[in-house]
Subunit: 217 residues, 2 copies
């Protein structure tokens, strides 16, 4: 799929073209800091990136986890409102404002991504405000399963982030996250072979707990 860099009218061509510029970063690499000037947007080629805000009282709100194909760092303001850091080794491309000006198709993609992230944010808000701690944790695990392309009833998922990261994403305390995982384990829904792996024993039940709309698949 590698093509000459001249014709960039097709979106996929342009993404492919730019994708090859990706750089690999080890885990815990900061890609940009809260307050840094915005000089472009980012795309995840591989790995996981976490974006968070630090509040004045030194609390931390994790805005999201981004995986292959996701864009992040989208902002219309001059300065990034959040910090982006790799959770695992990750290959990341930066799209400069110059790149974006080059391709109408890329602009369209970015708009679609922004809209899609808006939708995701609203869905998250619903989870955060209308769901119990148990439901939040189950929802998080379902999200991870989907992102890792898992299907079926029983499978392993990787959990590269810490319990504290999960807590800061779901707006719970680390103790509550731990308790809910234990509860799911005691209920036979999951297994916890080690701290960075979760074995889903009963995905159907997990989805019911998470109140997924489509309990199928």
């Amino acid at each position: 799929m590698n093509n000459r860099s001249q014709n960039i009218s097709q979106q996929d061509d342009y993404i492919d073209h730019v994708k090859s510029r990706g750089r690999v970063h080890p885990e815990q690499t900061v890609l940009y800091h809260q307050g840094d000037g915005v000089s472009g947007f980012y795309r995840v080629n591989s790995g996981i990136v976490m974006v968070y805000r630090l509040l004045p009282d030194s609390q931390r709100q994790i805005s999201g986890f981004y995986t292959q194909g996701d864009f992040f760092g989208l902002s219309s303001s001059d300065a990034h409102p959040d910090t982006a850091v790799t959770v695992s080794t990750a290959n990341i491309v930066m799209l400069t404002l110059h790149d974006i000006r080059q391709s109408i198709a890329l602009q369209k993609t970015l708009f679609d991504m922004a809209c899609s992230q808006l939708d995701t944010a609203q869905t998250l808000i619903t989870t955060l405000t209308k769901r119990s701690a148990a439901e939040k944790v189950a929802t998080f695990l379902v999200m991870l399963s989907q992102r890792q392309g898992q299907q079926g009833v029983s499978f392993d998922i990787r959990l590269p982030m810490s319990r504290q990261d999960i807590a800061d994403y779901l707006g719970l305390s680390i103790e509550t996250v731990s308790r809910m995982l234990t509860k799911l384990k005691d209920g036979g829904v999951i297994h916890l072979p080690n701290r960075n792996t979760i074995h889903i024993c009963d995905y159907i039940r997990l989805k019911i707990i998470a109140r997924e709309k489509s309990v199928q698949n």
Copy 2:
């Protein structure tokens, strides 16, 4: 907010052009329904619009309140994930997909708006997960004050939405919203002359309670 979009003269021309097509709707008019096909985006010329999602268990999550100059209905999917309804009499313009194709500047504006709404959503998530009920209600009142262009220490704000609307926006019960308003009243921060008006007696203190970054202004 979206400072990058301010300097594009062409954009304002186009907005002005389209703005004149706005139509006035009485309060409680549904502009689109959850599930309707997306045939364009909307801009508020005047009045207030509320956007919400109905969940399968008939709970309601209010995604946002939109006022003059705000865009809403931004979605990259085929169907609207939410319902938009006027809270007060409102003048609304619909931008068709055809309109948007016409103007590069408008596309840019829409992207900036989407990014700005993403930022707003993340800030809201922080409020919802890290703040107490009292802080949430205070934050809501500060937001209303800012939207209504209020300044100084003491002034009236209109409250066209119901207590239930506020509760569904902040993820609280209606009783808690009521109790927190009472608490603010008892603390001398606000007055409640009638159900649709709040008199802010001490905006400084309100902002402190809301943990506003800039307690100035």
